[in-house]
């Protein structure tokens, strides 16, 4: 087996074993640091109350991710079509980006009645900008000579966007998606922490807060574990799905299932100035 596969698995296993051993030998009370076995047991026993929270967090994350992707791509496309629009709106996007979520969340919670909607808005605010920036960079990365080709044949801005800019932006869009997936989860949890919401329609962050008030450390760890697993699953999905998608195209030449070159790398802009 390749070291890329077994070395990380081994190091994680060893770390968990060391943690387990430390807790047992040093007799650390579970309200200070629960052993991994106890965390797993808590996930099992508390699953009834944890999974609705997990489901809420997941919906919040995916909802924000979808909205951020839609918003980012649409706005970037609009910017690509209209320079004036870009000049007018980009500053607002940057302002939103540099404003810390925890600082703006209380305001949003005041202005927006529905807590769920407020949380979604907070999460979207964080995830949106990387998507916009990445897509914008991708739209601008289109080959210069291809641009000239489109100019030569009198392409309309819409044709240029559809057939040149958006396809060029695909690899950038995918890396934007990977960034946004992680950010959505983090921002969703952060927003919920700030909101301090209680009740049925709340996520894992609220479970962690509640557990911390009761010093129920194992339960905190259990919720944390679910968050980490969700993050990992999200990352793996966004890493794997695009490759899967690319493979549907006919395999070029030699290697079966290899990606078309434009999918993985951006091409350097060729210099055609004056010759």
């Amino acid at each position: 087996m390749k070291p890329e596969r077994w070395v990380p698995a081994l190091s994680i296993t060893l770390a968990l074993l060391a943690w387990e051993a430390l807790v047992h030998w040093a007799r650390i009370p579970h309200y200070t640091l629960p052993a991994p076995s106890r965390v797993l047991a808590t996930v099992w026993t508390d699953f009834g109350s944890l999974w609705p929270a997990w489901w809420f967090t997941l919906r919040l994350t995916l909802g924000a991710l979808v909205l951020a992707t839609l918003g980012g791509v649409l706005l970037a496309a609009a910017f690509a079509l209209s320079r004036v629009l870009e000049l007018a709106l980009l500053p607002f996007a940057v302002v939103l980006q540099v404003t810390p979520l925890v600082a703006i969340a209380p305001l949003i919670l005041i202005y927006v009645d529905s807590t769920t909607a407020a949380l979604l808005l907070c999460t979207w605010l964080v995830a949106f900008f990387p998507m916009l920036a990445n897509t914008l960079a991708g739209l601008r990365a289109a080959d210069r000579q291809l641009h000239e080709l489109f100019t030569l044949y009198g392409a309309t801005p819409w044709q240029r966007l559809k057939w040149l800019l958006l396809p060029s932006a695909v690899p950038y869009l995918l890396s934007g998606l990977r960034i946004c997936g992680g950010l959505s989860l983090i921002a969703g949890v952060t927003a919920e922490m700030v909101a301090g919401a209680a009740g049925r329609e709340t996520g894992l962050a609220s479970r962690i807060l509640e557990a911390s008030f009761r010093t129920d450390t194992p339960r905190m760890f259990a919720a944390l574990l679910l968050l980490v697993l969700t993050g990992l699953a999200l990352y793996a999905l966004l890493e794997w799905a695009p490759r899967r998608l690319a493979r549907r195209r006919p395999a070029p030449g030699s290697a079966a299932g290899s990606r078309p070159a434009w999918f993985s790398t951006s091409k350097p802009v060729k210099d055609t100035s004056c010759n």
Binding site: D143, Q145, L146, E148, L149, F150, T151, L152, Y153, G154, A155, Q159, W163, L164, P167, V170, R249, P250, P252, G253, P260, A261, W262, K270, T272, S273, C274, N275
Partner: protein, 255 residues
């Protein structure tokens, strides 16, 4: 059809580089003319002006005729995410309703062009599956798909090996005879210029201007026999001499 007439064309890039100074040139319909010169002589700029990709700072460039302009870049410049057929059909697709061609008609037209450039059977291939020469052929097919009256080629074969380059040259001549379009071919290769053209325009650099024009005395049908003939070699030597003079001495304009 009228001659393409350029007179007193000057062009300065925004960065201050004077690319062309007072260039005058007349090209007859159906003529094959090469622009030959060292790099920096503005031959590519002249081509870009004719294509409408740049506007001259001085002088007027005639508007392209009815069929428009076909342009072949230095690199094949194909869309990597489209099949070879879709790439060739792109100009028709961009023209949209203006040309009044349905999608099957565009396909048929693209396939016919691919057949003519020797790429039959590669319609559904991706550009990156083709060799450099084949990509150039696809690029040539795309430039011809709109039936242009003027075909502009910017050192299209510079990146190809010698044998492929000669084969492409022969095929270009065949296409030109069949199509009957005017061809303006930019190159820095003396042998290529003499072999292909009816007239070679030698340019000198800094600023770019026409140094001399050399009419090539050769049959319209050219083949390997011509490539080995003394007449070909003599004219290559003559054009080489003119090019050297253009690169060193002051302009001695002859027409």
């Amino acid at each position: 059809m009228n001659d393409i007439e350029l007179s007193g064309i000057s062009h300065r890039y925004p960065n201050g580089v004077q690319a062309l100074a007072d260039v005058s040139l007349r090209i007859a319909p159906g003529e094959f003319v090469s622009l030959l010169g060292p790099s920096g002589c503005g031959k590519s700029t002249l081509l870009r002006l004719l294509a409408g990709l740049e506007t001259p700072s001085d002088g007027r460039v005639p508007a392209p005729g009815e069929g428009g302009v076909g342009f072949v870049f230095q690199s094949p410049t194909l869309l990597p995410w489209s099949t070879v057929r879709d790439n060739v059909a792109l100009p028709l697709r961009l023209a949209g309703r203006a040309r009044g061609l349905s999608s099957p008609q565009r396909r048929a037209r693209a396939d016919a062009l691919l057949q003519r450039v020797g790429l039959a059977g590669f319609e559904d291939a991706w550009p990156e599956e083709l060799s450099g020469g084949m990509q150039m052929r696809a690029s040539l097919a795309r430039a011809l798909v709109t039936d242009p009256t003027l075909l502009l080629l910017d050192e299209p074969f510079a990146a190809l090996d010698e044998l492929t380059r000669q084969k492409m040259g022969d095929d270009l001549l065949t296409l030109w005879r069949e199509q009957g379009c005017t061809v303006l071919f930019v190159t820095h290769n003396v042998f290529e210029a003499v072999y292909l053209s009816q007239r070679v325009v030698v340019m000198s650099a800094r600023p770019g201007r026409v140094h001399a024009e050399v009419a090539i005395d050769a049959p319209v049908l050219r083949d390997h026999a011509f490539r080995r003939s003394p007449a070909y070699l003599e004219q290559c030597v003559a054009v080489s001499g003119t090019l050297e003079a253009a690169m060193s001495g002051p302009a001695a304009v002859t027409t």
